[in-house]
């Protein structure tokens, strides 16, 4: 019996150390409940923060262009669950915000006005069971495409029901490399173009009525991004692979392609060892921006690359680049050491700093609303 007495003392001691965590209480207290009208009237920018791969620390930030106010982690604060692992991209369609969470294999669908009685960013649905989703493109109200890095498939969904309605195979059955990994999408008439980045050099052309790959355009190694300018030319920038890559290594390059004929109009070479990425357009789609160390800017009609970057990348490595379609303000992203909240620089179209603000870990895309 004496033994038990001592044991009780130990147990009581341990109980004192014991504590409980209460996430639910925290979420209730911090619930945002922002009105969608507020977001629209204040000209907001949403920023998706990828977070670290396999950490599950992606997040969504909200920036107010007028007041410069920032609210971080809005998805968690509204819904009480984390966004997931690697928030890749975002799109607003019919009063809903679609957030593609790449390594969680899902797309979150959030209220952005479709449900007037619900607050902004409130969870209303999801598309799950995706392998490695990257981007979503809406063809019409009942059809959208989702590209994927690993599944060799473009998934077709119905945005009204969020059900999967079909699949397009992009498997080229290459015995050598794992192809095709599809990325960003742009549309010209009924054709959807998508760039294939990792270990690839193609831009696939998909007929959105037949849901079939109908053509492919060969560019340099590893096209990173894709836009369509006002003259209906596609632009992509390649990163050229890396030194020692079994797929190859070359100087990065910028490509201009006629969307109607699928013919390459011109390609611009950088130097070996440069790192090209993130080709973007301004709101009027007449000026290109891209990253290669610093930020570069050129008119879509220019016949040669500029001599100097528009914004030097000396002191920081820019990770992401976004252009405000309304006023062409530049949102350049500094991910710092990729393990702490990153910083967004908001610059005027002339490159003058307007603001800088801290968001989440590895900020990626900005969505202007």
């Amino acid at each position: 019996m004496q033994a038990m007495k001592y044991w009780y003392i130990i147990i009581i001691g341990l109980l004192i150390f014991n504590s409980c965590m209460d996430d639910d209480e925290w979420s209730q207290r911090n619930k945002l409940n922002i009105d969608v009208d507020d977001i629209i009237s204040k000209e907001s920018v949403f920023i998706s923060n990828e977070g670290n791969f396999m950490y599950g620390n992606a997040s969504l930030s909200l920036y107010n262009k007028a007041t410069h106010e920032v609210i971080n982690d809005v998805f968690y604060k509204q819904n009480g669950v984390p966004l997931g692992d690697v928030a890749q991209s975002m799109k607003v369609h019919n009063g809903l915000l679609y957030v593609v969470v790449n390594n969680s294999g899902k797309i979150y669908v959030l209220n952005m006005g479709k449900y007037p009685h619900l607050p902004a960013f409130d969870y209303v649905g999801k598309i799950t069971g995706l392998t490695s989703p990257r981007y979503i493109h809406f063809i019409n109200d009942t059809k959208a495409y989702i590209t994927d890095l690993y599944s060799k498939t473009i998934t077709i969904i119905n945005p009204e029901t969020l059900e999967k309605t079909g699949k397009i195979s992009v498997d080229n059955h290459s015995p050598e490399f794992y192809q095709h990994p599809t990325e960003q999408m742009v549309q010209y008439n009924k054709y959807i173009f998508t760039n294939c980045w990792s270990y690839d050099n193609k831009i696939l052309v998909i007929d959105s009525e037949k849901d079939q790959v109908v053509d492919s355009i060969t560019v340099g190694l590893q096209p990173t991004s894709l836009v369509l300018d006002k003259n209906n030319y596609l632009w992509t920038i390649t990163d050229g692979g890396y030194d020692g890559s079994p797929y190859g290594y070359e100087a990065p390059s910028l490509w201009k392609i006629d969307a109607a004929t699928h013919k390459v109009e011109q390609s611009f070479q950088f130097n070996l060892g440069d790192r090209g990425s993130e080709v973007k357009l301004n709101g009027t789609r007449d000026t290109l921006y891209f990253i290669n160390g610093g930020i570069w800017k050129m008119a879509v009609n220019d016949k040669q690359l500029p001599d100097h970057p528009f914004i030097s990348g000396e002191d920081k490595l820019f990770y992401g680049l976004n252009i405000d379609p309304v006023n062409s303000d530049i949102y350049a992203i500094d991910a710092i050491d990729y393990s702490q909240p990153g910083v967004v620089y908001r610059l005027s179209p002339k490159g003058k700093k307007i603001d800088s603000f801290k968001v989440g870990i590895i900020p990626g895309e900005a969505c202007f609303y």
Binding site: S59, N79, S104, V124, R275, F318, S339
Partner: protein
């Protein structure tokens, strides 16, 4: 002199069972016990001024059916970062990186030269006879690059004549089954020890997943979370260990040990993952994605030892082969499973060591060794076709001298001259001093300064893509001051130990993206300063003839801070604690033994850990809650016959059913039970 070290040895080794019961339990092997003591005496002699800790045998026996990761997290100040039950577990010793903790198995380093680290979840406690921690400076006696310290795992001969069989069977929740076997056969000259284990678990524990939403009411916006079964966390591990000890002469022994094991594990997805549609409790869904890891290793050492009057010599040979395979499968549009990642690595290491130690004078001891290591890594990824095939040769000379200046005052110096791939590396050295007073109680203080040096791993140098052959080694200086006090009362022993250390590590290696998007590359970026205090207390004794107790606690305060050059103007990581390193940690092992019944409580605490380098609180994922874990076991011993001794135990893990995580979005099981049956023939 001899008497003093005998007392010291008893102090070091007697924590669980009291001196009385040790003597009472000893069979007719007094002579052999003497050999052990002399060995420990000579070990002690080489290491004046540095800190070592032997893990209590109670801790090892109570966790014999688990992996070493649990032994370390519950009984030492080492922080174990675990990805989940049965999953990878890496160590941070004094706030350093996993590759800065070296693990020696019978004197040979078993860290994977490709990754630098050791997965402690793959070391079965059943296979080790004793575990010693060599803190910072103490590691330099046997290895290099252990900037935090080293963990020494040893197997010892059992010279009790005859045949002994020991089995341990355990059944746990989540379809967990473990079987362990040990057979010892000993004659006057030969000791054979065979051990084997088999462990498997579905690991399908249920948890309430607050990281995803299962349904929403669109009228009210109300959401629910699913109750799920953990998927893809199953494991199966098995292995054998054979030890052969042979006494060539009275003062010469030959030993051979071989340890081979295999582990097949599925790697669970994060709790926020929804690649596999729905993981609701009811109805298993078809898996669209899964990960698997296969580990296979064979380690062999042989050793010849000669004990002379003045000189002791030893020659060791070792070989390690490790296969580490990882696959990631995805389901394609046509429903077919396609392999996306198929990575294989084949690592071979060969070791040779010759050493000698001599008692030069009554007060001076000298120790020298030459060590050769050759590592070869063949790493391939089949789908993306990346690969590297590289090797490294390390040659080391070690010299150590220890001198006793006056009674109780001893000084030691140890130097190593490492040569890597025919190039001289900077010197590694330790200088230590120790003062000890042994009267009724024992007081001990020691101080040391160390310079150590950690080579980049072969992945750091050659991994495709990103490996950087230009990387410099990480190098550091450590200073350590330690006080120990042992009170020896008639029925109670109390041992207290406090250590303070300061460590500066330059050229700390960090992987960062090389361009704006794409692959990552290691760089010598950070400068880390690690400072801390470790406190340990052992209390053990008798309350009555049949009632004894033991209470062991470790507390550590660790400040492991980055002082590296800032990465641009926005970098806030300067002066901040490294991610995932708790500032405070504590553990307690308490046991109470009455007659044949033993109750053991194990308690473990880690303070809040940051997940970012800037230590901010921007989101709920920027930190992890502090962690309290309590485990309890009750065992009863039965004599089934004259020759069969049984022990039945009931274990409760996570006694208070804590909802906890060691890493973001890696759920851990709630309260769970295990039944163990231990039989000794």
């Amino acid at each position: 002199m001899h008497r003093k070290s005998l007392i010291h040895t008893i102090l070091l080794t007697s924590l669980l069972i009291s001196c009385f019961s040790v003597q009472a339990d000893l069979p007719d092997t007094i002579k052999i016990e003497e050999v052990r003591i002399i060995k420990q005496f000579s070990k002690k002699q080489q290491q004046a001024g540095v800190k070592r800790q032997k893990i209590d045998t109670l801790a090892l026996s109570t966790l014999a059916h688990r992996s070493l990761s649990e032994v370390l997290s519950e009984n030492t100040p080492i922080f174990i970062k675990t990805y989940g039950r049965g999953s990878m577990a890496s160590a941070s010793f004094r706030g350093t990186a996993p590759s800065h903790t070296k693990v020696l198995w019978n004197d040979f380093e078993i860290n994977n030269p490709m990754l630098g680290m050791v997965d402690f979840s793959l070391i079965p406690t059943w296979f080790v006879d004793d575990v010693n921690l060599a803190y910072g400076a103490a590691s330099v006696q046997k290895t290099t690059g252990a900037l935090g310290g080293s963990v020494e795992l040893n197997n010892q001969p059992n010279w009790n004549k005859g045949l002994n069989i020991h089995t341990l069977t355990s059944f746990g929740e989540y379809h967990t089954y473990d079987q362990f076997l040990a057979v010892n056969y000993t004659t006057a000259k030969l000791s054979l020890k065979s051990k084997a284990f088999y462990s498997r678990s579905e690991n399908d524990f249920t948890f309430y997943n607050k990281d995803i939403i299962s349904s929403v009411d669109l009228a009210t916006g109300e959401k629910t979370h699913p109750k799920q079964k953990q998927q893809q966390a199953d494991y199966e591990k098995y292995g054998i260990l054979q030890e052969i000890y042979y006494r060539l002469k009275r003062n010469e022994t030959l030993a051979f040990k071989i340890w081979s094991q295999k582990a097949d594990r599925s790697l669970p997805m994060l709790s926020s993952d929804e690649k596999n549609d729905n993981k609701e409790l009811e109805g298993e869904s078809q898996l669209n994605n899964y990960n698997k890891q296969y580990d296979f290793s064979t380690r062999a050492v042989s050793n010849w030892k000669h004990y002379g009057d003045r000189w002791n010599y030893a020659v060791n040979l070792g070989y390690i082969h490790t296969d580490l395979d990882y696959i990631y499968d995805v389901r394609l549009h046509d429903g077919e499973i396609n392999r996306r990642i198929d990575s294989k690595s084949d690592v071979n290491s060969f070791f040779f060591k010759a050493s000698g130690e001599a008692q030069l004078t009554d007060n001076t001891k000298f120790n020298t060794a030459i060590q050769y290591q050759h590592h070869h890594v063949d790493s391939k990824e089949k789908i993306d076709k990346t690969a590297y095939d590289e090797s490294r040769t390390e040659l080391n000379w070690l010299g150590a001298i220890e001198h006793q200046w006056a009674k109780g005052l001893t000084q030691s110096i140890c130097i190593q001259t490492p040569v890597t791939d025919n190039k001289f590396d900077p010197l590694i050295w330790v200088a230590g001093i120790q003062y000890e007073v042994v009267q009724k109680n024992v007081f001990n203080t020691q101080f040391n300064v160390t310079r150590n040096y950690h080579r980049p791993t072969l992945n750091d140098l050659y991994f495709q893509p990103g490996g950087n052959p230009e990387l410099k080694a990480e190098e550091g200086y450590t200073t350590e001051l330690d006080f120990g006090y042992a009170f020896l009362w008639p029925k109670t022993d109390l041992k207290l130990n406090t250590t303070g250390y300061i460590s500066e590590i330059n050229d700390w290696i960090l992987w960062l993206p090389a361009g704006s998007r794409g692959y990552w590359e290691p760089m010598n970026l950070k400068k880390v300063s690690s400072k801390g205090i470790e406190f340990k207390a052992n209390l053990s004794g008798f309350l009555s003839e049949k009632l004894n107790y033991k209470f062991i606690t470790n507390y550590a305060f660790t400040k492991s801070v980055n002082y590296g050059k800032s990465i641009g103007e926005n970098d806030l990581s300067y002066g901040k604690q490294l991610p995932y390193i708790p500032k405070k940690s504590m553990n307690i092992l308490a046991s109470l033994n009455y007659n044949k019944t033993t109750i053991i409580g194990r308690f473990n605490y880690y303070s809040q850990r940051h997940t970012t380098t800037s230590n901010e609180y921007e989101t709920m994922r920027d930190y992890l809650y502090s962690y309290y874990m309590t485990n309890l076991s009750i065992g009863h011993e039965l004599s089934l016959s004259k020759k069969v001794l049984a022990n039945i135990q009931l274990k409760v893990d996570n006694l208070f059913d804590e909802d906890y995580r060691s890493i973001l979005q890696r759920p851990m099981p709630g309260r769970n039970y295990t039944i163990l049956l231990d039989l000794k023939f």
